[in-house]
């Protein structure tokens, strides 16, 4: 396949960026999208140019490192997968592919296609945990039976990989899907009840402080989320927030 890539190049956080054209050939359908980027980078290095910087690590859809806005969509055209799981057979010979970083005020660009998502970490630090000591002085695991449906639902929320596609998909750059997935996981489990009030208030406060936008229920986040995190999480967090505000 021959392709025409249009890629966002930006030297560092302070510089202005721009789109640059890179024609590329010899791409096979079996390659993953990031392997296609490897081929491009190898070419650039041979020519003595700077390779394109992007985040990646596991290359199997679980670490949440890879990002990329591909032809306007976070993680590209396919559904329920990350960029590293996207394969070139989804494209045709002669296609133009526009590749940009995830865009949001709370995700500043570090270089080229790499963004700073530490705002997500800070939301988790504000309350995304259960305050239990790790010294092992806990009750036996089976002393707390949990309804299988609740456990399964908590697991569904817990599968969020923290990639930020929900934010990149949202016209308001809201982080509600991400934040609500964590709040939901704990809200669905008995272990999470004790600190429920503080948790939701603190995490939402941090989310706002980081400069994420408001949720206007457009649902774009759910469509683009590679892990299928559902909008029900946002509804649940809203309920939790409402009752916490009454208490708090």
């Amino acid at each position: 396949m021959k392709l025409n890539l249009k890629i966002w190049r930006q030297k560092d956080a302070k510089s202005n960026g721009q789109m640059v054209d890179y024609p590329i050939s010899g791409i096979e359908g079996d390659m993953s999208f990031l392997e296609m980027m490897d081929v491009l980078n190898e070419e650039l290095i041979t020519k003595g140019e700077d390779p394109v910087v992007f985040d990646h690590d596991c290359r199997e859809g679980i670490c949440g490192s890879c990002s990329l806005q591909i032809n306007g969509e976070p993680h590209g055209p396919d559904r329920l997968i990350t960029t590293c799981q996207l394969h070139m057979r989804k494209f045709n010979d002669g296609d133009t592919i526009v590749i940009e970083p995830f865009r949001a005020k709370a995700f500043p660009v570090i270089k080229d296609l790499m963004v700073d998502r530490s705002s997500f970490d800070r939301i988790q630090q504000a309350g995304g945990y259960i305050s239990v000591n790790t010294s092992g002085n806990t009750v036996d695991a089976n002393a707390i039976p949990i309804d299988k449906h609740d456990a399964d639902e908590a697991m569904d929320s817990a599968t969020c990989i923290g990639c930020g596609a929900c934010v990149a998909a949202c016209k308001n750059a809201s982080a509600m899907l991400f934040t609500s997935a964590k709040v939901s996981q704990y809200a669905l489990l008995p272990q999470g009840q004790v600190e429920a009030t503080d948790r939701v208030l603190n995490m939402v406060r941090q989310m706002d402080l980081e400069g994420f936008g408001n949720c206007t229920n457009t649902g774009a986040c759910e469509v683009e989320c590679p892990k299928g995190i559902s909008l029900e999480n946002i509804a649940r967090m809203n309920r939790e927030y409402f009752s916490a505000s009454l208490k708090g």
């Binding site: 490897d38 596991c58 806990t138 697991m155």
Partner: protein, 667 residues
Amino acid sequence: MGILDSKIPSGPLADKWTNHKNHIDLVNPANKRNIDIIVVGTGLAGGSAAATLAELGYNVKTFCYQDSPRRAHSIAAQGGINAAKNYQGDGDSNYRLFYDTVKGGDYRSREANVYRLAEVSGNIIDQCVAQGVPFAREYGGLLDNRSFGGVLVSRTFYAKGQTGQQLLLGAYSAMNRQINRGKILPFNRHEMMDLVKVDGKARGIIARNLVTGEIERHSAHAVVLATGGYGNVFFLSTNAMGSNVMAAWRAHRRGAFFSNPCFTQIHPTCIPVSGDHQSKLTLMSESLRNDGRIWVPKRIEDAQAIREGKLKPTQLKEEDRDYYLERRYPAFGNLVPRDVASRAAKERCDAGFGVNKTGEAVYLDFASAIMRYGKEKALTSGLKNPDDKTLRELGEKVVEAKYGNLFQMYEKIVDENPYKTPMMIYPAVHYTMGGLWVDYNLQTTIPGCYAAGEANFSDHGANRLGASALMQGLADGYFVLPYTIGDYLSNDIRTGKIATDSPEFDAAEQEVRDRIAKLMGGSGTHSVDHYHKKLGKIMWNKCGMSRNAKDLQEAIDEISNLRADFWANVRIPGSAEGMNQELEKAGRVADFLELGELFAKDALTRNESCGGHFREEYQTPEGEALRDDENFKFVSAWEYKGEPKDAVLHKEDLVYDNIELKTRSYK
């Protein structure tokens, strides 16, 4: 005892850990506030250690190369975590888990360490549930279990196919709690470039800020390395792209002995290599071998026709297929341990029976499982005389419920529907049992430098059992290190802050800067990946699933030449200031080029076959591994002396007081 003192406590096996803990020196809470600990790596081992040490009151700094601790390679573990809870009432016990692990490791691990691992395993599950880890449950609300290869009980806890993710997010949440309290200071997108020793003790690290390129000095009273395994020395593996040996190797160069580098696990069920552009390999969980049957064509002409696309596997009649694992190992069949299954696949492919374009793939076939489940389903739903099509549809639903996510992953990568045609699989590098030598306290041969998780050599001998790495990482981090490190630090309560302006820090920083300058100064002929791929080919062809003296000697020479070529001619664009991903890769590959040679040397020295280490010269007439307990019942521990070829071998003899040494047999 020689130079290696494993510090195994005396007394009966089952009492060693408790007695040891009772006699350990403690640091009082007020003094802990004056003690700093550096934890490099925030996977299961490092994340859990950092959280616990901070909770105890120490000041902890964590380092990882990713942008967040949540992205460590541990996140990718699929199948599960073992624990001797005996919730299923199937006769499990600490002793049985201990026994299975020592036997599974082909009698090359330390009894006392493994027993301790079994002893604390149950507590890991309690801890994780208390943290809100959503393990799979039964309808009664209690925890569910699975079985894994090499054992006869159900002791594996899991969270769908994402157990590592959930455990890591649990450890990450415990870290977040301590970050919020100010007890952990996280340094993400930072890479440890060297270990700093002052008066013979580990007292800090030199790190590079990967965003700004700045070289930083960090001091502490002790340094914990939890930096994962080195499977990427093979270039292609199931490890994350960034997994590397740099931190462990830098410590090795500063005096930490490196153990059993040649003990590598090659996992039998991975998606085969599709071409030269391939950047990594994807695992298909071991659980698939419960229902999938492994085969290749019986006749070489059929294999040829399949490779040329003239014949489809589904067209081949039952009697024309060779279910070689069932044939060779009737007792265990498709569920033989990983090392055995991998070698058998290689044997068939080398003999010309491979089934994909490259000739390096075998089938993992679910057709009979689909029909079997279909029949069961038809019976239980009262269907009379269903036709084959209905049976197949019913069966496919059952298989989807069990393995749906894996089938989907396979289809995305290979573009074939595994419900309709058998999966193609081939062995791939997956895990490294070798690592930094540690004593019972997890301390390396450098005082104050500890190693935890996959980075140490401790518990898995020559072959790791499935679902045991997660257990070991969390055991080390939550339950072992926090005790044993206190014993060492109790001598440091009056030391005060470690200065970073000492000559030792000056020298270490200068060495790091010189090394970077040297890398940047290559003649610029080839990219880093060029060298990494070449190294990977040598490792795979000559130090892979089966090894012999001639190949290993060649590998040593070739790697040594490649290393010289790399330093002279590597091309790294850009500059050392600011973000430079090629420079990061170059630093890692430089260390792989040294480790690879030591790996081959270790394999050449070990004149026996055991676990994942198979030497062609040492096998039975039927082609099974031939262990030599008389001469090789030891842990190799290599001391750095400049070039890898000059490394000096020390041996820790393994003593078996509680287990009788036997030949593993799966026939």
